[in-house]
Symmetry: none
DNA sequence: GAGGACCATGACTGATCCTTCACGGCTTGT
DNA sequence: ACAAGCCGTGAAGGATCAGTCATGGTCCTC
Protein backbone atom coordinates (compact mmCIF):
# COMPACT_ATOMS: atom_id res chain seq x y z
CA UNK A 1 0.00 0.00 0.00
CA UNK A 2 1.76 3.12 -1.22
CA UNK A 3 1.05 6.61 0.10
CA UNK A 4 2.37 9.91 -1.20
CA UNK A 5 2.98 12.56 1.46
CA UNK A 6 3.22 16.13 0.19
CA UNK A 7 4.46 18.71 2.65
CA UNK A 8 7.14 21.39 2.63
CA UNK A 9 8.03 20.93 6.28
CA UNK A 10 10.90 18.49 6.72
CA UNK A 11 9.94 17.73 10.31
CA UNK A 12 6.44 16.71 9.33
CA UNK A 13 7.70 14.66 6.42
CA UNK A 14 9.97 12.74 8.74
CA UNK A 15 7.32 12.19 11.38
CA UNK A 16 4.80 11.01 8.80
CA UNK A 17 7.27 8.72 7.13
CA UNK A 18 8.10 7.01 10.42
CA UNK A 19 4.48 6.70 11.49
CA UNK A 20 3.23 5.41 8.18
CA UNK A 21 6.11 3.01 7.71
CA UNK A 22 5.31 1.53 11.10
CA UNK A 23 1.77 0.88 9.82
CA UNK A 24 3.06 -1.00 6.83
CA UNK A 25 2.73 1.70 4.19
CA UNK A 26 5.30 2.36 1.51
CA UNK A 27 5.92 6.08 1.72
CA UNK A 28 6.82 8.54 -1.03
CA UNK A 29 7.40 12.15 -0.06
CA UNK A 30 7.43 15.41 -1.98
CA UNK A 31 8.11 18.93 -0.77
CA UNK A 32 6.38 20.82 -3.58
CA UNK A 33 3.55 20.46 -6.04
CA UNK A 34 5.69 19.72 -9.09
CA UNK A 35 7.52 16.78 -7.57
CA UNK A 36 4.27 15.56 -6.03
CA UNK A 37 2.64 15.37 -9.44
CA UNK A 38 5.69 13.67 -10.92
CA UNK A 39 5.85 11.07 -8.14
CA UNK A 40 2.15 10.43 -8.44
CA UNK A 41 2.49 9.52 -12.12
CA UNK A 42 5.56 7.39 -11.54
CA UNK A 43 4.56 5.40 -8.48
CA UNK A 44 0.76 5.48 -8.62
CA UNK A 45 0.12 5.76 -4.86
CA UNK A 46 -3.11 4.45 -3.36
CA UNK A 47 -3.55 7.55 -1.19
CA UNK A 48 -2.25 11.12 -1.33
CA UNK A 49 -1.82 13.25 1.80
CA UNK A 50 -1.61 16.84 0.64
CA UNK A 51 -0.52 19.74 2.79
CA UNK A 52 -1.70 23.16 1.74
CA UNK A 53 0.70 26.05 1.44
CA UNK A 54 3.24 24.52 -0.88
CA UNK A 55 5.94 26.86 -2.16
CA UNK A 56 5.24 26.52 -5.87
CA UNK A 57 1.56 25.86 -6.30
CA UNK A 58 -1.85 26.35 -4.78
CA UNK A 59 -3.31 23.30 -3.14
CA UNK A 60 -6.38 23.47 -5.31
CA UNK A 61 -4.21 23.41 -8.41
CA UNK A 62 -2.44 20.24 -7.27
CA UNK A 63 -5.81 18.62 -6.67
CA UNK A 64 -7.17 19.62 -10.05
CA UNK A 65 -4.12 18.43 -11.94
CA UNK A 66 -4.15 15.11 -10.12
CA UNK A 67 -7.84 14.72 -10.82
CA UNK A 68 -7.11 15.32 -14.47
CA UNK A 69 -6.03 11.71 -14.81
CA UNK A 70 -6.32 9.96 -11.47
CA UNK A 71 -9.06 8.92 -9.06
CA UNK A 72 -6.61 8.39 -6.22
CA UNK A 73 -8.05 9.43 -2.83
CA UNK A 74 -6.69 12.82 -1.76
CA UNK A 75 -6.73 13.84 1.89
CA UNK A 76 -5.90 17.49 2.47
CA UNK A 77 -4.00 18.43 5.62
CA UNK A 78 -4.09 22.05 6.59
CA UNK A 79 -3.63 24.49 9.41
CA UNK A 80 -6.09 26.89 7.84
CA UNK A 81 -9.50 26.68 9.35
CA UNK A 82 -11.08 28.80 6.69
CA UNK A 83 -14.35 27.31 5.57
CA UNK A 84 -13.91 28.69 2.09
CA UNK A 85 -10.67 26.83 1.62
CA UNK A 86 -12.25 23.58 2.71
CA UNK A 87 -15.09 24.00 0.27
CA UNK A 88 -12.76 24.84 -2.60
CA UNK A 89 -10.56 21.82 -1.96
CA UNK A 90 -13.44 19.40 -1.54
CA UNK A 91 -15.20 20.71 -4.61
CA UNK A 92 -11.98 20.47 -6.62
CA UNK A 93 -11.93 16.78 -5.95
CA UNK A 94 -10.34 16.22 -2.56
CA UNK A 95 -11.86 13.37 -0.62
CA UNK A 96 -11.28 14.66 2.88
CA UNK A 97 -9.92 17.68 4.70
CA UNK A 98 -8.22 17.39 8.07
CA UNK A 99 -7.18 20.43 10.06
CA UNK A 100 -3.97 20.50 12.05
CA UNK A 101 -3.27 19.58 14.65
CA UNK A 102 -4.74 16.13 14.16
CA UNK A 103 -4.22 12.81 15.86
CA UNK A 104 -2.36 10.16 13.96
CA UNK A 105 -5.03 7.61 14.78
CA UNK A 106 -7.69 9.77 13.23
CA UNK A 107 -5.66 10.34 10.11
CA UNK A 108 -5.02 6.63 9.74
CA UNK A 109 -8.72 5.90 10.16
CA UNK A 110 -9.58 8.47 7.50
CA UNK A 111 -6.98 6.94 5.21
CA UNK A 112 -8.52 3.53 5.70
CA UNK A 113 -11.95 4.95 4.94
CA UNK A 114 -10.62 6.54 1.77
CA UNK A 115 -8.87 3.36 0.64
CA UNK A 116 -11.93 1.26 1.36
CA UNK A 117 -14.17 3.13 -1.04
CA UNK A 118 -11.46 3.79 -3.62
CA UNK A 119 -12.35 2.58 -7.05
CA UNK A 120 -10.54 -0.66 -7.63
CA UNK A 121 -8.95 0.82 -10.72
CA UNK A 122 -6.39 -1.88 -10.97
CA UNK A 123 -4.66 -2.55 -14.14
CA UNK A 124 -3.69 -6.20 -13.83
CA UNK A 125 0.03 -6.23 -13.26
CA UNK A 126 1.07 -9.52 -14.78
CA UNK A 127 4.62 -10.15 -15.92
CA UNK A 128 4.82 -12.89 -18.56
CA UNK A 129 7.72 -14.90 -19.82
CA UNK A 130 7.88 -17.68 -22.35
CA UNK A 131 7.56 -20.25 -19.61
CA UNK A 132 5.53 -18.79 -16.76
CA UNK A 133 3.63 -15.72 -15.64
CA UNK A 134 3.82 -13.76 -12.42
CA UNK A 135 0.54 -12.21 -11.25
CA UNK A 136 1.63 -9.43 -8.92
CA UNK A 137 -1.94 -8.58 -7.92
CA UNK A 138 -3.07 -12.06 -7.01
CA UNK A 139 0.39 -12.89 -5.69
CA UNK A 140 0.62 -16.07 -7.65
CA UNK A 141 2.64 -17.75 -10.36
CA UNK A 142 1.27 -19.86 -13.17
CA UNK A 143 3.28 -22.26 -15.29
CA UNK A 144 1.53 -24.04 -18.13
CA UNK A 145 -1.71 -22.83 -16.59
CA UNK A 146 -0.97 -24.54 -13.30
CA UNK A 147 -0.24 -22.79 -10.09
CA UNK A 148 3.28 -22.98 -8.77
CA UNK A 149 3.55 -23.03 -5.03
CA UNK A 150 6.04 -20.54 -3.61
CA UNK A 151 7.11 -19.95 -0.03
CA UNK A 152 6.90 -16.42 1.39
CA UNK A 153 10.60 -15.75 0.85
CA UNK A 154 10.60 -17.18 -2.64
CA UNK A 155 7.66 -14.98 -3.59
CA UNK A 156 9.24 -11.94 -2.02
CA UNK A 157 12.35 -12.31 -4.15
CA UNK A 158 10.47 -13.15 -7.32
CA UNK A 159 8.16 -10.20 -6.86
CA UNK A 160 11.08 -7.85 -6.42
CA UNK A 161 12.78 -9.14 -9.56
CA UNK A 162 9.57 -9.16 -11.59
CA UNK A 163 8.72 -5.59 -10.66
CA UNK A 164 12.11 -4.63 -12.03
CA UNK A 165 11.91 -6.91 -15.05
CA UNK A 166 14.75 -6.35 -17.46
CA UNK A 167 16.77 -4.44 -14.92
CA UNK A 168 19.64 -5.60 -12.80
CA UNK A 169 18.80 -5.85 -9.11
CA UNK A 170 21.86 -5.89 -6.86
CA UNK A 171 22.41 -8.53 -4.27
CA UNK A 172 22.47 -5.87 -1.59
CA UNK A 173 19.09 -4.59 -2.64
CA UNK A 174 17.49 -8.01 -2.57
CA UNK A 175 18.99 -8.84 0.80
CA UNK A 176 17.90 -5.50 2.18
CA UNK A 177 14.37 -5.77 0.84
CA UNK A 178 13.77 -9.34 1.88
CA UNK A 179 15.80 -9.89 5.04
CA UNK A 180 16.34 -6.34 6.24
CA UNK A 181 19.34 -4.10 6.69
CA UNK A 182 21.42 -6.52 8.77
CA UNK A 183 21.82 -9.28 6.23
CA UNK A 184 23.65 -7.56 3.44
CA UNK A 185 26.51 -10.08 3.38
CA UNK A 186 24.48 -13.28 3.45
CA UNK A 187 24.77 -13.84 -0.27
CA UNK A 188 24.39 -17.47 0.66
CA UNK A 189 20.68 -17.04 0.99
CA UNK A 190 20.36 -15.69 -2.49
CA UNK A 191 22.07 -18.67 -4.03
CA UNK A 192 19.80 -21.04 -2.17
CA UNK A 193 16.58 -19.24 -3.03
CA UNK A 194 17.44 -18.47 -6.61
CA UNK A 195 18.17 -22.15 -7.09
CA UNK A 196 14.78 -23.01 -5.64
CA UNK A 197 12.99 -20.50 -7.83
CA UNK A 198 14.75 -21.86 -10.89
CA UNK A 199 13.85 -25.39 -9.97
CA UNK A 200 10.21 -24.37 -9.78
CA UNK A 201 10.07 -22.04 -12.76
CA UNK A 202 12.82 -22.61 -15.29
CA UNK A 203 12.38 -25.19 -18.07
CA UNK A 204 16.01 -26.21 -17.54
CA UNK A 205 17.07 -25.10 -14.07
CA UNK A 206 20.73 -25.75 -14.79
CA UNK A 207 20.69 -23.25 -17.67
CA UNK A 208 18.45 -20.40 -16.55
CA UNK A 209 16.79 -18.28 -19.22
CA UNK A 210 14.65 -16.00 -17.10
CA UNK A 211 16.33 -15.66 -13.72
CA UNK A 212 19.77 -14.54 -14.78
CA UNK A 213 22.83 -14.27 -12.56
CA UNK A 214 25.25 -11.45 -13.17
CA UNK A 215 28.29 -12.64 -11.28
CA UNK A 216 29.30 -10.41 -8.42
CA UNK A 217 26.61 -7.86 -9.22
CA UNK A 218 23.16 -9.21 -8.82
CA UNK A 219 20.24 -10.87 -10.57
CA UNK A 220 17.99 -9.93 -13.43
CA UNK A 221 14.49 -11.03 -14.42
CA UNK A 222 14.42 -11.54 -18.17
CA UNK A 223 11.05 -11.61 -19.90
CA UNK A 224 12.07 -13.21 -23.17
CA UNK A 225 13.98 -16.43 -22.97
CA UNK B 1 -31.17 13.66 -4.39
CA UNK B 2 -32.47 12.24 -1.14
CA UNK B 3 -30.72 12.67 2.20
CA UNK B 4 -31.55 11.03 5.51
CA UNK B 5 -30.86 13.19 8.58
CA UNK B 6 -30.62 11.31 11.86
CA UNK B 7 -30.61 13.44 15.02
CA UNK B 8 -32.53 13.44 18.27
CA UNK B 9 -32.57 17.23 18.59
CA UNK B 10 -35.71 18.71 17.07
CA UNK B 11 -34.07 22.09 16.60
CA UNK B 12 -31.26 20.65 14.55
CA UNK B 13 -33.63 18.52 12.54
CA UNK B 14 -35.61 21.60 11.64
CA UNK B 15 -32.56 23.66 10.76
CA UNK B 16 -31.11 20.91 8.63
CA UNK B 17 -34.35 20.29 6.86
CA UNK B 18 -34.67 23.94 5.91
CA UNK B 19 -31.06 24.28 4.81
CA UNK B 20 -30.99 21.11 2.78
CA UNK B 21 -34.37 21.76 1.19
CA UNK B 22 -33.05 25.12 0.06
CA UNK B 23 -30.20 23.32 -1.68
CA UNK B 24 -32.58 21.07 -3.52
CA UNK B 25 -32.35 17.93 -1.43
CA UNK B 26 -35.27 15.75 -0.51
CA UNK B 27 -35.00 15.31 3.24
CA UNK B 28 -35.96 12.39 5.43
CA UNK B 29 -35.50 12.71 9.16
CA UNK B 30 -35.27 10.26 12.01
CA UNK B 31 -34.83 10.85 15.71
CA UNK B 32 -33.49 7.44 16.69
CA UNK B 33 -31.54 4.53 15.27
CA UNK B 34 -34.45 2.21 14.71
CA UNK B 35 -36.45 4.62 12.59
CA UNK B 36 -33.30 5.66 10.78
CA UNK B 37 -32.65 2.07 9.70
CA UNK B 38 -36.26 1.64 8.68
CA UNK B 39 -36.30 4.85 6.63
CA UNK B 40 -33.03 3.93 5.00
CA UNK B 41 -34.46 0.65 3.72
CA UNK B 42 -37.68 2.29 2.57
CA UNK B 43 -36.42 5.39 0.83
CA UNK B 44 -32.84 4.44 -0.11
CA UNK B 45 -31.28 7.87 0.47
CA UNK B 46 -28.15 8.90 -1.43
CA UNK B 47 -26.51 10.27 1.72
CA UNK B 48 -26.97 9.71 5.45
CA UNK B 49 -26.12 12.37 8.02
CA UNK B 50 -25.81 10.61 11.33
CA UNK B 51 -25.68 12.34 14.69
CA UNK B 52 -24.07 10.41 17.52
CA UNK B 53 -25.76 10.09 20.87
CA UNK B 54 -29.05 8.67 19.75
CA UNK B 55 -31.39 7.57 22.50
CA UNK B 56 -31.72 3.92 21.48
CA UNK B 57 -28.52 2.85 19.81
CA UNK B 58 -24.80 3.47 19.62
CA UNK B 59 -23.69 5.34 16.53
CA UNK B 60 -21.33 2.54 15.60
CA UNK B 61 -24.17 0.09 15.66
CA UNK B 62 -26.26 2.16 13.28
CA UNK B 63 -23.31 2.35 10.92
CA UNK B 64 -22.65 -1.37 11.05
CA UNK B 65 -26.26 -2.29 10.46
CA UNK B 66 -26.51 0.09 7.54
CA UNK B 67 -23.29 -1.27 6.11
CA UNK B 68 -24.73 -4.72 6.37
CA UNK B 69 -26.62 -4.15 3.18
CA UNK B 70 -25.91 -0.67 1.87
CA UNK B 71 -22.96 1.28 0.50
CA UNK B 72 -24.68 4.64 1.01
CA UNK B 73 -22.25 7.38 2.09
CA UNK B 74 -22.52 8.03 5.83
CA UNK B 75 -21.33 11.32 7.31
CA UNK B 76 -21.18 11.33 11.09
CA UNK B 77 -21.97 14.56 12.91
CA UNK B 78 -20.85 14.76 16.47
CA UNK B 79 -20.07 17.09 19.32
CA UNK B 80 -17.62 14.57 20.73
CA UNK B 81 -14.07 15.34 19.82
CA UNK B 82 -12.78 12.03 21.11
CA UNK B 83 -10.31 10.53 18.69
CA UNK B 84 -11.32 7.01 19.62
CA UNK B 85 -14.90 7.66 18.63
CA UNK B 86 -13.82 8.99 15.26
CA UNK B 87 -11.67 5.96 14.61
CA UNK B 88 -14.42 3.55 15.62
CA UNK B 89 -16.97 5.22 13.39
CA UNK B 90 -14.69 5.47 10.39
CA UNK B 91 -13.52 1.88 10.74
CA UNK B 92 -17.11 0.71 11.06
CA UNK B 93 -17.80 2.10 7.64
CA UNK B 94 -18.54 5.80 8.01
CA UNK B 95 -17.24 7.94 5.15
CA UNK B 96 -16.63 11.15 7.03
CA UNK B 97 -16.79 12.58 10.53
CA UNK B 98 -17.61 16.23 11.16
CA UNK B 99 -17.40 17.75 14.62
CA UNK B 100 -19.90 20.31 15.81
CA UNK B 101 -20.06 23.16 15.45
CA UNK B 102 -19.57 23.06 11.72
CA UNK B 103 -20.34 25.42 8.90
CA UNK B 104 -23.18 24.52 6.61
CA UNK B 105 -21.01 25.25 3.61
CA UNK B 106 -18.42 22.78 4.78
CA UNK B 107 -21.01 20.10 5.39
CA UNK B 108 -22.50 20.61 1.97
CA UNK B 109 -19.07 20.39 0.37
CA UNK B 110 -18.38 17.14 2.23
CA UNK B 111 -21.75 15.82 1.12
CA UNK B 112 -20.93 16.64 -2.48
CA UNK B 113 -17.56 14.91 -2.11
CA UNK B 114 -19.27 11.84 -0.69
CA UNK B 115 -21.91 11.75 -3.42
CA UNK B 116 -19.34 12.25 -6.14
CA UNK B 117 -17.39 9.13 -5.31
CA UNK B 118 -20.38 7.00 -4.38
CA UNK B 119 -20.39 4.01 -6.64
CA UNK B 120 -23.59 3.15 -8.41
CA UNK B 121 -24.38 -0.05 -6.60
CA UNK B 122 -23.17 -3.15 -8.25
CA UNK B 123 -25.29 -6.11 -9.16
CA UNK B 124 -25.08 -8.89 -6.63
CA UNK B 125 -22.39 -11.25 -7.78
CA UNK B 126 -22.43 -14.96 -7.19
CA UNK B 127 -19.16 -16.82 -6.91
CA UNK B 128 -19.43 -20.45 -7.95
CA UNK B 129 -17.12 -23.36 -7.41
CA UNK B 130 -17.41 -26.98 -8.35
CA UNK B 131 -18.89 -27.79 -4.99
CA UNK B 132 -20.82 -24.78 -3.69
CA UNK B 133 -21.81 -21.23 -4.56
CA UNK B 134 -21.51 -18.03 -2.57
CA UNK B 135 -24.27 -15.48 -3.13
CA UNK B 136 -22.71 -12.23 -2.01
CA UNK B 137 -25.92 -10.30 -2.51
CA UNK B 138 -28.21 -12.61 -0.59
CA UNK B 139 -25.45 -13.38 1.89
CA UNK B 140 -25.82 -17.10 1.73
CA UNK B 141 -24.15 -20.23 0.56
CA UNK B 142 -25.67 -23.11 -1.37
CA UNK B 143 -24.21 -26.57 -1.59
CA UNK B 144 -25.94 -29.14 -3.75
CA UNK B 145 -28.85 -26.72 -3.87
CA UNK B 146 -29.20 -26.66 -0.11
CA UNK B 147 -28.40 -23.73 2.07
CA UNK B 148 -25.41 -24.04 4.35
CA UNK B 149 -25.72 -22.40 7.72
CA UNK B 150 -22.82 -20.10 8.50
CA UNK B 151 -22.19 -18.10 11.64
CA UNK B 152 -21.62 -14.35 11.25
CA UNK B 153 -17.86 -14.69 11.61
CA UNK B 154 -17.69 -17.58 9.19
CA UNK B 155 -19.65 -15.61 6.63
CA UNK B 156 -17.52 -12.55 7.13
CA UNK B 157 -14.36 -14.48 6.32
CA UNK B 158 -15.89 -16.37 3.42
CA UNK B 159 -17.26 -13.19 1.92
CA UNK B 160 -13.88 -11.52 2.09
CA UNK B 161 -12.20 -14.45 0.41
CA UNK B 162 -14.92 -14.83 -2.21
CA UNK B 163 -14.83 -11.16 -3.14
CA UNK B 164 -11.16 -11.64 -3.82
CA UNK B 165 -11.55 -14.99 -5.52
CA UNK B 166 -8.32 -16.16 -7.06
CA UNK B 167 -6.30 -13.61 -5.16
CA UNK B 168 -4.18 -14.26 -2.15
CA UNK B 169 -5.55 -12.57 0.96
CA UNK B 170 -3.02 -12.12 3.74
CA UNK B 171 -3.72 -13.20 7.27
CA UNK B 172 -3.29 -9.63 8.43
CA UNK B 173 -5.94 -8.41 6.06
CA UNK B 174 -8.47 -10.98 7.18
CA UNK B 175 -7.82 -10.34 10.85
CA UNK B 176 -8.07 -6.61 10.32
CA UNK B 177 -11.25 -6.82 8.31
CA UNK B 178 -13.05 -9.27 10.55
CA UNK B 179 -11.77 -8.60 14.07
CA UNK B 180 -10.39 -5.08 13.75
CA UNK B 181 -6.97 -3.49 13.89
CA UNK B 182 -5.96 -4.90 17.30
CA UNK B 183 -6.06 -8.58 16.44
CA UNK B 184 -3.41 -8.82 13.79
CA UNK B 185 -1.47 -11.51 15.63
CA UNK B 186 -4.33 -13.83 16.54
CA UNK B 187 -3.68 -16.18 13.68
CA UNK B 188 -5.25 -18.78 15.93
CA UNK B 189 -8.69 -17.56 15.02
CA UNK B 190 -8.09 -18.02 11.33
CA UNK B 191 -7.06 -21.61 11.75
CA UNK B 192 -10.18 -22.38 13.74
CA UNK B 193 -12.59 -20.66 11.38
CA UNK B 194 -11.02 -21.88 8.20
CA UNK B 195 -11.32 -25.40 9.57
CA UNK B 196 -15.01 -24.81 10.25
CA UNK B 197 -15.62 -23.38 6.80
CA UNK B 198 -13.89 -26.34 5.22
CA UNK B 199 -15.93 -28.75 7.29
CA UNK B 200 -19.08 -27.10 6.00
CA UNK B 201 -18.07 -26.51 2.39
CA UNK B 202 -15.25 -28.74 1.20
CA UNK B 203 -15.99 -32.18 -0.24
CA UNK B 204 -12.97 -33.50 1.64
CA UNK B 205 -12.17 -31.09 4.48
CA UNK B 206 -8.80 -32.73 5.11
CA UNK B 207 -7.68 -31.92 1.55
CA UNK B 208 -9.14 -28.54 0.69
CA UNK B 209 -9.67 -27.68 -2.97
CA UNK B 210 -11.32 -24.29 -2.68
CA UNK B 211 -10.15 -22.70 0.55
CA UNK B 212 -6.43 -22.92 0.08
CA UNK B 213 -3.77 -22.24 2.67
CA UNK B 214 -0.49 -20.77 1.59
CA UNK B 215 1.77 -21.20 4.59
CA UNK B 216 3.11 -17.94 5.91
CA UNK B 217 1.34 -15.95 3.18
CA UNK B 218 -2.39 -16.17 3.65
CA UNK B 219 -5.48 -17.85 2.21
CA UNK B 220 -6.95 -18.04 -1.25
CA UNK B 221 -10.44 -18.76 -2.53
CA UNK B 222 -10.05 -20.98 -5.55
CA UNK B 223 -12.95 -21.25 -7.98
CA UNK B 224 -11.88 -24.35 -9.81
CA UNK B 225 -11.11 -27.40 -7.78
C1' DG C 1 -32.16 -21.62 34.78
C1' DA C 2 -31.28 -25.08 31.24
C1' DG C 3 -29.79 -25.60 26.73
C1' DG C 4 -27.82 -24.28 22.44
C1' DA C 5 -25.24 -21.40 19.34
C1' DC C 6 -21.34 -18.83 18.83
C1' DC C 7 -16.92 -17.09 20.06
C1' DA C 8 -12.30 -16.78 22.29
C1' DT C 9 -8.35 -19.19 23.80
C1' DG C 10 -4.88 -22.66 24.71
C1' DA C 11 -2.37 -27.08 23.89
C1' DC C 12 -0.71 -30.61 21.03
C1' DT C 13 0.92 -32.71 16.71
C1' DG C 14 2.26 -32.72 12.14
C1' DA C 15 3.68 -30.01 8.14
C1' DT C 16 6.16 -26.39 6.09
C1' DC C 17 9.73 -23.19 5.83
C1' DC C 18 14.21 -20.98 7.00
C1' DT C 19 18.83 -21.21 8.02
C1' DT C 20 23.12 -23.14 7.74
C1' DC C 21 26.77 -26.08 6.12
C1' DA C 22 29.46 -28.87 2.99
C1' DC C 23 30.96 -29.90 -1.47
C1' DG C 24 31.83 -29.34 -6.36
C1' DG C 25 31.80 -26.65 -10.74
C1' DC C 26 32.95 -22.57 -13.09
C1' DT C 27 35.36 -18.34 -13.95
C1' DT C 28 39.19 -15.12 -13.34
C1' DG C 29 43.66 -13.55 -12.57
C1' DT C 30 48.49 -14.75 -11.88
C1' DA D 1 48.23 -24.97 -14.06
C1' DC D 2 46.87 -23.24 -9.76
C1' DA D 3 44.58 -20.55 -6.28
C1' DA D 4 40.82 -17.72 -5.03
C1' DG D 5 36.32 -16.22 -5.49
C1' DC D 6 31.78 -16.77 -6.83
C1' DC D 7 28.02 -19.64 -7.82
C1' DG D 8 24.85 -23.87 -7.87
C1' DT D 9 23.18 -27.91 -5.43
C1' DG D 10 21.60 -30.96 -1.91
C1' DA D 11 20.58 -32.07 2.66
C1' DA D 12 19.76 -31.63 7.92
C1' DG D 13 18.33 -29.40 12.16
C1' DG D 14 15.58 -26.24 14.26
C1' DA D 15 12.13 -22.66 14.11
C1' DT D 16 7.83 -21.30 12.66
C1' DC D 17 3.26 -22.19 10.96
C1' DA D 18 -1.08 -24.79 10.27
C1' DG D 19 -4.72 -28.34 11.50
C1' DT D 20 -7.18 -30.29 15.18
C1' DC D 21 -9.27 -30.95 19.51
C1' DA D 22 -10.81 -29.40 23.87
C1' DT D 23 -12.43 -25.97 27.25
C1' DG D 24 -14.73 -22.08 29.25
C1' DG D 25 -17.41 -17.93 28.57
C1' DT D 26 -21.23 -15.10 26.80
C1' DC D 27 -25.47 -14.27 24.87
C1' DC D 28 -30.02 -15.56 23.49
C1' DT D 29 -34.09 -18.62 23.56
C1' DC D 30 -37.25 -21.33 25.61
Amino acid sequence: MRVLVVDDDVQIIRAMRINLRARGYDVDTAADGASALRLATEHLPQVVLLDLGLPDMEGVEVIQRLRGWSQVPIIVLSARHSAGEKVRCLDSGADDYVTKPFGMDELLARMRAAERRAVPLEEAPVVRTGSFEVDLGAKRVLRNGEEVRLTPTEWHILELLARNAGQLVSQRQILHDVWGPNYQNETNYLRVYLAQLRRKLEPDPAHPRYLITEAGRGYRFEREG
